[in-house]
Symmetry: C2
Subunit: 361 residues, 2 copies
DNA sequence: TGTTGGCACTCTTTTCTTTCGAGTGCTAAT
DNA sequence: ATTAGCACTCGAAAGAAAAGAGTGCCAACA
């Protein structure tokens, strides 16, 4: 069934208005606002049909209409104007992103914070790493009891650890170990770090003091951590700005879920093409806690064939258009910095491809 | 004016009960609970006096009593039983702390999260660093366009950065720079990194490609960041568990303040002796946003003559005793790991020294 | 056939009263 | 100094009434 042009306009008007006010919207308001030249009575008839088609609902018989998840889905897929931020806004966002990223801190978590600030919803950033390996292994000798392990990973991040030993080691041993690890532990994934490998390294280095196992433990730790997807959530408290979360218990439930690094993505979410935006509306979410919230997620290219996601969570009554536009810019910025480099240049407004569930279960 | 023994018992009972129930407590309840052999009428008289002395207040004439900040202060300073956790609880906390700290992540923020979990209040962790200097400077040559800077600071943390250059550098230059930075940039604080120093280093290294300034920029960045006090806040959402924050606006205000890394400490808060616990009750806080909340802070020894703080924020109706005990253990754990090493061993219950404002402005 | 004004009806929200009860303050007795 | 007793206060809860927004539907109209 395809909707008449007028029904579409009305549906869009209901969503727009409801998003703005958080109140069920009545026929009069629509007649006044949407510039279709007909009276509220006509609109009432149309509204009644939209309800029976499942796009709208009423909290009770004598109230206005509000969109159902299906209504939002229609809106997102077909009706909404893909908002493009003005050049100024785009530049403002890029400016703030650059400013953040100049510092040496964790890029991803900073961008998550920024996303939350920009949208005024809680934001989350996820990284899923493909198998990570060690690219380079260095050990810096500091003094007889101290050395620094420096590990460069295949995704070009660098990790280090200062090790203080209860025993003295000589510089020679450290050099030997450095060389051995550099040849033996590079290019392999976590599960290839076997006790066997560690033992043979220990023997080859002629290490009688157990230094090898300390270093190996660090290697395992780094690989494990780097391979684990990580999530950063920020701005949970902004949920309280939304009228649908004025109930502290409800807010607390969702915030708790989010702070726990809650898991948000549908299991089928093989991260899409970078640049795409995914919208999950209400019951389309898999997590029980999100069944009456919506999630908008942008995918970015984290280089090394890896993708990450940055998204926000809010009530289903969400300003999908604005959020999508902002996330798109942030994701593009991240791709530009982390990714292979074929991302569009900063100034360019890239096409907003918004995808969602098909809507049929 | 010193309180009679009985008044003290009654005051303590009021606080205990009010903390437990969050409801004003009546004379009957006290008569039933506190085992002092007298009737509710007698207690009413005493209560009336405690009100006129300023320790208690009534929301309205015919309601029970609740403690004023001054009442809490008295309770914290003199009345409350310094709670000691059972050995099991202590061990449980230490176990969880060890578990957390095994991972290579940021110790401080992890402990902050742990503090929040244990107390069910929002927690914050602060570090204030004394002047930090660079202790050691290494540059690892990766390939013609890439090297890794590794910097070890006076507080024994290690920072690194991967640098990718648009131009090629040869290994010799990198080695020269490494040596020069190691001699010229160690032992100095941020403000000693002058353009002059950078220039002379550049000339000495015979660097025509501006590599020096990249490295110097990193040095400045690291020193700046390390010297800046940092704050980690976690579990803001737990505020919503407290009945006094059922009003979403109130909760939001405070949560926003906290997430902003809000600043909590009285300006005079030269961090005290490690091991001490400080309690700030309601209006004793300087920040306007905290005037009707309380803060409990434990100081830990972060080594290198530096102290940090870990604390929680909650309503004035807070379980001071339990919170203080838990924070004390966490702070001791941190001191043991970060500090000079003269911290008490893990098993030992260390004395709880609870200090607060004197109460007189 | 689609559109419109009109109007009775429904159901929530708000406001006002009433009732209820916990807890007090005071007095008189012990 | 303590206690029992009792009238009184004041908020919270419950109930009743009024207000208002918006609908559904009908009859009239283009």
């Amino acid at each position: 069934m395809v909707l008449s042009e007028r029904k579409k306009k009305i549906l869009a008007a209901v969503v727009d208005e409801y998003v703005r006010t958080a109140e069920p919207v009545g026929s009069k308001a629509i007649a006044a606002k949407a510039g279709l030249g007909c009276s509220s009575a006509t609109i009432r008839n149309e509204l009644a049909e939209l309800v029976s088609l499942g796009y709208l609902e009423q909290p009770h018989t004598s109230a206005g209409r509000m969109p159902t998840p299906m209504g939002y889905r229609m809106y997102v897929n077909e009706l909404m104007e893909k908002q493009r931020l003005s050049l100024e806004e785009t530049e403002e966002i890029n400016r703030r992103m650059n400013q953040k990223l100049r510092e040496l801190d964790d890029t991803i978590s900073d961008v998550s914070r920024l996303a939350s600030q920009l949208t005024d919803y809680p934001a989350l950033a996820l990284t899923t790493r493909t198998a990570v390996t060690i690219k380079r292994f260095d050990i810096i000798y500091v003094d007889a009891n101290t050395f620094i392990i420096v590990v460069m990973l295949s995704d070009n991040t660098v990790k280090n650890k200062l090790v203080k030993l209860p025993v003295s080691v000589d510089q020679k041993l450290v050099q030997r170990l450095s060389a051995l690890f550099n040849s033996g532990f590079t290019g392999i994934t976590e599960d290839a770090v076997t006790p066997l490998l560690i033992n043979s390294t220990e023997r080859a280095a002629d290490d009688t003091m157990g230094v090898t196992s300390v270093i190996a433990a660090f290697a395992i730790e780094v690989l494990t951590e780097a391979a684990a997807p990580s999530a950063y959530v920020s701005g949970e408290n902004r949920l309280l700005n939304q009228p649908e979360f004025r109930d502290p218990d409800k807010a607390h439930r969702l915030m708790g879920y989010l702070s726990g690094g809650g898991y948000i993505l549908p299991p089928n979410a093989n991260m899409d093409e970078a640049g795409e935006i995914k919208v999950l509306i209400g019951p389309e979410n898999v997590a029980e806690e999100l069944k009456d919230s919506s999630v908008v997620i942008a995918t970015y290219d984290a280089g090394d064939n890896t993708r990450g996601m940055i998204g926000v969570v809010g009530p289903t009554r969400m300003d999908y258009s604005a959020v999508a536009a902002k996330l798109s810019i942030l994701a593009a910025g991240l791709s530009r910095r982390l990714g292979g480099g074929e991302a569009p240049p900063e100034g360019m407004h890239n096409k907003l491809i918004i995808k969602g569930d098909t809507g049929n279960e």
